[in-house]
Symmetry: C2
Subunit: 116 residues, 2 copies
């Protein structure tokens, strides 16, 4: 029984939402984002994050600025655009619908078993 794969599948699609939520609080660069998500108990790896950030930037939901670092190479700080903020509100709605759906399905009482 592969629970890990199921959890990974559950994360699909949620990641985009979580990253936008995080960036709504303020700009961050990739390693930063990975760290913050980990603190929120969401494991993400670079190979997942970088293409996602690039896609969101190409869709004009994010923008970035290079910033010098006191130690190490410069960092790409990502931030939400106005479009990104609006999109985030749509995703808030989608998330609300989804939790509502799960609550409906969870709350129903277990029917009598028909199969013998």
């Amino acid at each position: 029984m592969n629970t890990e794969n199921a959890k990974s599948q559950m994360r699909k699609g949620m990641l985009e939402y979580c990253i936008l939520l995080l960036l709504h609080k303020g700009p961050a660069y990739a390693s930063d984002i990975i760290q913050q998500l980990k603190e929120a108990q969401l494991i993400v790896v670079e190979g997942t994050l970088y293409p996602l950030l690039t896609r969101l930037k190409n869709d004009r939901l994010l923008r970035y600025e290079w910033q010098e670092s006191t130690q190490g190479p410069p960092r790409k700080y990502y931030a939400l655009t106005l479009d990104g903020e609006e999109f985030l509100r749509h995703l808030d709605g989608a998330w609300n619908e989804l939790t509502n759906t799960v609550n409906i399905l969870r709350s129903g009482s277990k029917a009598e078993v028909i199969l013998t």
Copy 2:
């Protein structure tokens, strides 16, 4: 801005959970499941559902029985196996983690904007 695609992506992975939740209440056949999910505001189509049911059956999480119908061809009634019930409890845990993550990310206050 393609909201539909994002919502579709959010559904990914959740579908498996929702279907197991639904079948936990009692056996159902495919059209039945589609109808019940629609009532819970989750749109699923046949091309999505049938392969998923087959996969869950092959993983021994579901089983089915043919049942005659008063009108139309016989129906495949799916039900959870014991493994399926156990797996569902794991998914309950994963779902709780995910909602927790989103709540953490949602609740944080918006930081000061660094980018100009």
